[in-house]
């Protein structure tokens, strides 16, 4: 990517993003940005619109309006597959492992968007369980393994901006820990990450910043250091 | 499959049923139909009624059961042949002949249903189509159907052995077969009423539920397959009734009654009129019938037109005529 943008330093900038599913208007002007190498979370209640936000960034919703800058390029009018080629990797809520492909084919499916993606070796090193089951059909994996595969899949492509949706959903604590570790590792490696989470404790540990979404709008932003101070504010949002 | 796509208005149907039922529409339409033969060419009118019934029967399965059968002609045709045979060869009275044909259609419905309901959606369509083709060839080769020539010269006979159905009444310089007309009218209306009743019954509700979420219905303890089969057989039976009646009207049964084109036609009628609506198939049947009649001179352009209508319906007009109106008026038809 051109260096000019590097000191601008923003990997993702979303401004006034509106999105619809058919008739129903879900996002009412989302604004937030993520700097290179940062990890931010999108928090909110069920149906707040976090998943939709990620989908809208990728152009997977119905109508959408506003602006989505992916490392310096306007993506709002691009078709989904072009956006992906800007270096965006998405790990969907429902994992979406392909049952018609085995683990290795699943890993090899996404075309490389940049040269410096991880090699299969590196990935297996990161997720040893996948190595054991590399020849078995995608959906035969247990929930946790499917989750790892879903993440590993996007690391290969060299995408530097990762959109991770509910990656701890319905997972056993032991696996939650594992996943947490790998996310930290990625952050160290300089990936830019947007994390959608219900599991606040999980998110708190690793995020630089938290955006709170309500009714399709960003209503608050809390940085890691002011987190301790603003717990009950957050609880209010999340309705604890 | 997303049933809500498949029959947009069925929801309003279900809700409409909760309103108290009105009787005047029935009486009104009866009154209208009673004077039709004095204006319209009666034989044509009667044929249209048979097709209307056929389409309604089909719609019971598609619109309310969510199952697209692409082989309904086989029930229509089988009943047509067997009724014809019963009346012509065994000399049964018309009502018995029709009863016999319809019963046979029901049996065939069970046989085919048992096999077909094992698959859903598109497969169901293909399976019914193929099985119907099997029936088609059976009819082609069976000794009593007269193969390509069809079963011809079927007498109208005497209703209950008393009333001569071929009796005609002089009206102007035209001969009106009123006896037959009202006989057919009665049958069609009976069939239509039965369908209306079924749709707005507990059974109808369960059918809807199954279509919405089969696994859930199953876990509630409904024997889903039995309900599907029941719906299938009922639809087949009524289709048979329509076929049987038609035989009496035109006095012959032929291969085109069992041919898959016929199955296609009835799909079109329903689609055009509006699936999942009660009146839709009737409107569709009449429209298609008239279309055929008017375009007959155009030779193969008829096929083209029919195909065109299909495409237009699917692309721009998925609710069908009545469905569209119902949607506009936001009330039950």
């Amino acid at each position: 990517m051109p260096d000019v943008l590097d000191h601008a330093g923003e990997m993702l900038r979303v401004t006034g993003l509106h999105a619809f599913y058919g008739e129903s208007h879900i996002l009412h002007g989302i604004d937030f940005g993520v700097r290179r190498g940062e990890l931010v979370t999108l928090l909110g209640r069920n149906g707040a619109g976090r998943t939709t936000t990620l989908k809208a960034i990728l152009g997977l919703t119905g109508k959408r309006a506003g602006s989505v800058m992916v490392n310096g390029n306007e993506a709002i009018n691009l078709p989904t597959h072009k956006i992906a080629h800007l270096g965006v990797g998405w790990c969907p809520e429902e994992r979406a492992i392909f049952s018609s492909l085995n683990v290795e084919e699943n890993l090899n499916l996404p075309p490389k968007v940049r040269s410096d993606g991880m090699s299969l070796e590196e990935i297996y090193e990161l997720f040893p369980n996948l190595w054991e089951r590399r020849k078995s059909q995608g959906t035969r994996l247990s929930g946790g393994e499917q989750q790892m595969l879903a993440m590993a899949r996007i690391l290969r492509t060299g995408a530097r901006l990762l959109l991770l949706d509910e990656i701890t959903e319905g997972l056993a604590p032991v696996i939650v820990k594992k996943i947490g570790d790998s996310v930290r590792l990625l952050k160290e490696r300089g990936y830019t990450i947007v994390l959608v989470e219900q599991n606040f404790r999980f998110a708190a540990g690793i995020a630089d910043r938290h955006y709170v979404i309500e009714h399709g709008q960003v209503v608050d932003a809390i940085t890691a250091d002011e987190l301790a101070a603003s717990t009950e504010r957050l609880n209010k949002y999340l309705g604890v | 499959m997303q049933s809500n796509d498949l029959n947009p208005t069925s929801l309003k149907m279900a809700r409409g049923a909760e309103q108290k039922t009105r009787y005047w529409p029935w009486l009104a339409s009866l009154a209208v139909l009673a004077v039709v033969p004095f204006g319209v060419y009666p034989t044509f009118a009667m044929e249209l009624m048979c097709f209307a019934l056929f389409a309604c029967a089909f719609n019971l399965l598609l619109g309310f059961g969510g199952l697209l059968s692409f082989g309904h002609a086989c029930f229509f045709g089988t009943a047509a042949y067997l009724t014809g045979h019963a009346i012509k060869v065994w000399g049964l009275t018309p009502e018995l002949g029709i009863l016999f044909g319809t019963a046979c259609a029901a049996v065939l419905g069970v046989l085919i249903g048992v096999i077909a309901i094992r698959r859903q959606g598109i497969y169901f369509a293909m399976v019914t189509l193929a099985l119907a083709q099997l029936v088609f060839f059976a009819c082609l080769q069976a000794p009593f159907t007269g193969g390509e020539d069809g079963l011809q010269g079927i007498p109208k006979g005497r209703f209950l052995g008393l009333i001569d159905l071929s009796h005609t009444v002089q009206f102007g310089e035209r001969e009106l077969p009123l006896a037959l007309y009202f006989f057919v009218l009665a049958i069609t209306f009976g069939g239509y009423w039965l369908i209306w009743r079924t749709v707005n019954s507990p059974f109808g509700k369960v059918l809807k539920a199954i279509r919405e979420n089969e696994a859930r219905a199953l876990s509630l303890g409904y024997r889903v397959d039995r309900y599907k089969l029941a719906a299938f057989v009922m639809s087949a039976t009524l289709a048979g009734l329509a076929g049987a009646t038609k035989t009496l009207v035109v006095g012959l049964a032929s291969l085109s009654d069992v041919h898959w084109h016929m199955s296609g036609e009835v799909v079109l009628m329903t689609l055009l009129g509006g699936m999942g609506t009660l009146l839709g198939p009737v409107v569709g049947a009449v429209t298609v019938g008239v279309l055929h009649h008017e375009l007959a001179s155009l030779g193969s352009w008829v096929t083209v037109t029919i195909g065109g209508v299909f495409v237009v319906c699917v692309m721009l007009f998925r609710r069908g005529i009545v469905g569209e109106i119902a949607h506009r008026l936001r009330r039950t038809i």
Binding site: L60, P79, A96, L101, T157 | R119, I122, V304
Partner: protein, 301 residues
């Protein structure tokens, strides 16, 4: 009754010949269904179109271009017809089918049914159902080879070989290449596949092109054997549906093998009990459904 072995063998050969056509057609259907979830009722019509492109190219092209002795040779037709038909398919997909992926799959079936009627009707109007003979069979393929038990026309032998080659080519393309895994992924979850940077709409269009072109090819190959007529596809297609149901839609190889096997079966039935010949496939289908609802090669639903 005693049937001479030679009779059995020769009917088997003819059966294989039909089987090859079934395979080619059901393969196209399976590919389209797999990727687009559309039961392509117009498949028979495209098969017919393929034959007509060849016919028109040979008998009429010259007249149109005002140069009577300019003709599209059979070999050229083998290439041109599938492409022409395929492109027609592309138009259909881009203008109509594309809009139906979101709604119930049955609409795809209904649309293509309508299209089939249109194509059939138009051609019936210009070349009545009797149709016309296609006389462009190349010299080299004239005459028959002696198989010992029968004289089998060279051309039919050629048609068998060609069809099978193409079938397995397509099988390889889909099961063994990267493009294939794109296709399979796109079938299973279009949105996610797109999100990985794969142009799914284009893939769909391509798939329809491929499937339909296969039908077109089958049409060209069939043309010299059966005279070219507007209805040549419409009845065949129902048999092919049955084949596909028996084989199980999911599987490419399933479609090919089932096609061949059933053609063969049909041929043999012609020897032992002719009246059953045109129904045997449907009977088999019924039995298979009772025994394995998902079809022989289908994955459990």
């Amino acid at each position: 009754m005693d049937i001479p072995l030679q009779a059995i063998l020769s009917q088997a050969m003819l059966g294989l010949n039909n089987g090859a056509f079934y395979a080619l057609l059901s393969l196209g259907l399976a590919v389209i269904f797999g990727m687009l979830n559309v039961v392509n009722f117009a498949h028979g019509a495209f098969y017919m179109l393929g034959a007509f492109v060849a016919l028109l190219g040979y008998d009429y092209l010259g007249q149109w271009l005002g140069n009577a002795d300019m003709r599209l040779s059979f070999w050229a037709a083998l290439l041109v017809a599938p492409i022409v038909v395929g492109l027609l398919g592309v138009i259909v997909e881009k203008t109509m089918l594309q809009r139906l992926y979101k709604v119930d799959h049955l609409y795809g079936l209904l649309l293509t049914f309508g299209l089939a009627l249109i194509f059939e009707g138009v051609f019936t109007n210009y070349f009545n159902v009797a149709g016309e003979p296609y006389n462009a069979k190349p010299e080299v393929l004239e005459g028959a080879v002696n198989l010992g038990f029968m004289f089998f026309p060279k051309y039919r032998l050629f048609s068998i070989v060609l069809s099978l080659t193409v079938c397995f080519g397509v099988w390889y393309l889909i099961e063994r290449t990267r493009l294939g895994s794109y296709l399979r992924a796109g079938t299973e979850n279009p949105d996610v596949t797109r999100a990985f940077g794969i142009d799914v709409p284009k893939l769909r269009t391509f798939t329809y092109f491929l499937g339909v072109a296969l039908a077109g090819l089958a049409g060209v190959v069939a043309a010299p054997i059966y005279s070219v007529s507007p209805k040549m596809g419409s009845d065949l297609i129902i048999i092919v549906f049955a084949v596909v149901v028996i084989g199980g839609m999911g599987s490419i190889m399933g479609a090919i093998l089932t096609g061949l096997a059933l053609g063969l079966l049909e041929g043999l039935v012609k020897v032992f009990y002719p009246p059953l010949a045109n129904t045997v496939i449907f009977i088999v289908m019924a039995l298979v459904l009772l025994w394995r609802p998902a079809g022989l090669f289908g994955k459990e639903a």
